[in-house]
């Protein structure tokens, strides 16, 4: 009895003491999160991954050297983890001053939640900034006609890489049309070669096939309707037809066996191409550097070919439009102090993509910065032919479609990736109509 009474009393005391101690603990958390700079300067978060990480750091360093308003403090995060990390940080009021993104749905979310600054007047005051960069790069940073994110870095279109050695082995030409592509499948299969490499487990890789097919078959407007989350955009008959074409390709054995177990993280899809196991690969311009670095003499030996995605005969879309990342983006946190915002604006106007940094992107990263009038510089670079190809795509494309997973809301993007995996993984049991029904249900929420 005695024991029980004692323990109850001490329990009550503990229960009283706990919340007090808890608040003391919470106070320890304080305001020194990773988003805060030590000396009142501004903060910037971007992505890790060489060689671009070096160029990003170089850009911040040279800005800090000349900046009078204050310095930027850098924190870099791994690509896949960043998207979740930044959202949590913004939600917790710990956002950095300058927020890296790919534009589209996430910028819209942040803008609607009042977490990022409206930069329209800032851009209007600096017309030379706007004129200097690709015009097509600006729209993914806009929400309802207002600019919430400023583009920077490089343009990254998606196109068809191919292995020239394997094409000459079977005596075939790269596919100009979808019918050509379908005809190539049995030819490569007969030679014991996988026609197309695909890292299906990563899902966004598969998504790029659907994006191109929708643009080529259903046209630019249908693509935009999807990106704008218009009602019933997914059940457009032409979109459904595009999905059936994709399933036809799966059924014909177009993709490497077991493609749903191939992972893009370790560049296994690129390895299939340069080890002569697969003939074609639909990927972004960002892959060129690693194919060149990992493929031995594959690139230097002239075996890497590249061309735009084939045209679909009778489709509503043109053959020059492309999809991918029109640029990368920076937004300014509305929670930052006025001083921090000033530093951030200075950096966007005068530091983020100077001529020096643009040159570094060309020479060190092998990518095309979103700066007008650099074609001569690109042609003279080490991989001039490839860089000019990218520049031509970016400057000639009537339409540069943003990736669906960036353009859509996070809720819809997650549903989309799950459905894509089923569409390709289970072509007999999962119909385009089911896909459309699932997606329409999400976008109406």
């Amino acid at each position: 009895m005695d024991q029980k009474r004692t323990s109850r009393r001490s329990f009550l005391t503990l229960a009283m003491a706990t919340p007090l101690a808890a608040s003391a603990l919470a106070a320890c958390g304080g305001s020194s999160g990773p988003g805060q700079a030590a000396d009142g300067g501004a903060t910037i978060w971007f992505l890790t991954g060489q060689p671009k990480e070096d160029v990003r750091n170089q850009s911040v360093d040279s800005f800090n050297e000349s900046s009078e308003a204050g310095d930027l403090t850098v924190a870099a995060y791994q690509n896949d983890a960043y998207k979740t990390k930044i959202r949590t940080a913004i939600g917790a009021g710990q956002a950095p001053t300058l927020i890296f993104s790919w534009g589209g749905g996430s910028v819209r979310d942040w803008a609607e939640a009042g977490q990022i600054e409206d930069l329209t007047s800032f851009v209007d005051e600096n017309p030379e900034m706007r004129e200097r960069l690709f015009e097509a790069a600006w729209s993914p940073g806009e929400v309802d006609g207002k600019i919430y994110a400023v583009p920077h870095e490089t343009v990254q279109p998606v196109f068809l890489y191919y292995n020239k050695k394997l094409f000459s082995q079977i005596g075939a030409q790269p596919p100009a049309t979808w019918d050509d592509l379908m005809a190539l499948v049995p030819q490569f299969r007969a030679a014991g070669i996988a026609p197309i490499s695909l890292a299906g487990q990563s899902r966004w890789t598969t998504m790029m096939w659907l994006e191109f097919l929708v643009q080529r078959v259903a046209g630019t407007e249908a693509y935009q309707a999807i990106n704008n989350s218009e009602p019933n955009a997914w059940s457009n008959p032409d979109v459904l037809r595009a999905f059936s074409l994709a399933q036809d390709l799966v059924n014909a054995g177009g993709f490497v066996d077991g493609f749903n177990s191939v992972v893009a993280d370790q560049n296994a899809d690129q390895a299939l191409l340069y080890t002569d196991k697969a003939a074609m690969l639909l990927q972004g311009s960002w892959c060129f550097g690693s194919i060149k670095a990992d493929g031995g003499d594959f690139v230097s030996g002239g075996n890497l070919g590249y061309q735009s995605f084939p045209v679909v005969t009778g489709g509503k879309g043109d053959g020059e439009s492309t999809v991918g990342n029109p640029a990368q983006y920076y937004s300014i946190s509305s929670k930052a102090s006025e001083e921090q915002k000033q530093i951030a604006r200075d950096y966007l106007a005068n530091g983020v993509l100077t001529d020096e940094i643009a040159t570094a992107f060309i020479n060190e990263a092998g990518e095309v910065p979103i700066v007008n009038g650099i074609d001569d510089q690109l042609a003279a670079a080490e991989d001039g032919e490839f860089l000019s190809f990218i520049y031509d795509i970016a400057s000639n494309a009537p339409f540069f479609g943003m990736s669906w997973d960036q353009a859509l809301s996070p809720t819809a993007a997650e549903e989309l990736l799950t459905n894509i995996e089923q569409l390709f993984g289970n072509p007999g049991g999962f119909t385009p109509q089911q896909f459309a029904d699932n997606m329409n249900a999400v976008s109406q929420q």
């Binding site: 919340p19 490497v256 493609f259 177990s261 191939v262 370790q266 993007a413």
Partner: protein
Amino acid sequence: MSSVAVSAAGAAGSGGRGTSHGRLAWLVLPALLFFTVFGIVPLVGVFALSFTSWDGIGSVTFSGFDSWTSVLRDPGLPHALLVTFLIMALSWLVQTPISLLIGVFIAGNQRYRAFLAVLYFIPLLLSSAAIAIVYKALLDPNFGIGAGLGLDFLNQNWLGRPWLALGVVVFVVSWQFVPFHSLIYQGGVRQIPVSMYEAAQLDGAGRVKQFFHITVPQLKYTIITSSTLMVVGSLTFFDLIFVLTQGGPGDATRSLALDMYLRGFRASLMGPASAIAVILVVVGLVLALLLQRLGGKDANTSQLEGA
């Protein structure tokens, strides 16, 4: 979270027996403090959040039972429950016999057995993420272990077919946790009095009979402990599946814990994700209680009767 609750309940159960109580009760303060801050407070927060709608960055708005109705009506919930219970049952079925046998084996005092015990223990030292990344590379149909060893039957679409992917998850989970449970069984076996085996030998019982009539019954509580850890552990199993399959292909390996994360942090639906978290806690508590019941009401009866 439920595993925290279970271990805390266990700690409280054994704490009440101290002789010089009074002052010693204060010793519980640090544990209670941490449990309150990191266990109870988030739990209450999650329960509250499940009645709101929140996208993680905007404002939190009260939405009544909206999250609950959307979660309970979603066919994804029964599917996630099914996947969770399948992983739970299959990994229990695979792990228990293997770890029981290994545990009995390494309980012997022979030198080579001690050496093998160290080898068996290695998977436990690796992080789940590292294990998942390595298995992903090993299972690559073109550059994985099948291609490396020239064994064609290992070149399967391991992560691309729903049932295969589920099997892979169970296999990798078991590979990681069998050492841990073997260790528990090893300890259990070593506590069985040698006199029982001696008596059995005198009565003419062979090795197999000794195993089934002495070892297994004597390990009753060890089996319950190990099973509780497996069952409750597989309920909150997340990191390995997340890295290995992301719940795919489609939703074939999308367990309840993964479903919660993907809804909350990928799809930014914090309300429904919180509702799933509450379901997860309830299921975990019910299971832990059931398993305790399975062990008989009076857990203090001697296992050594007749020894």
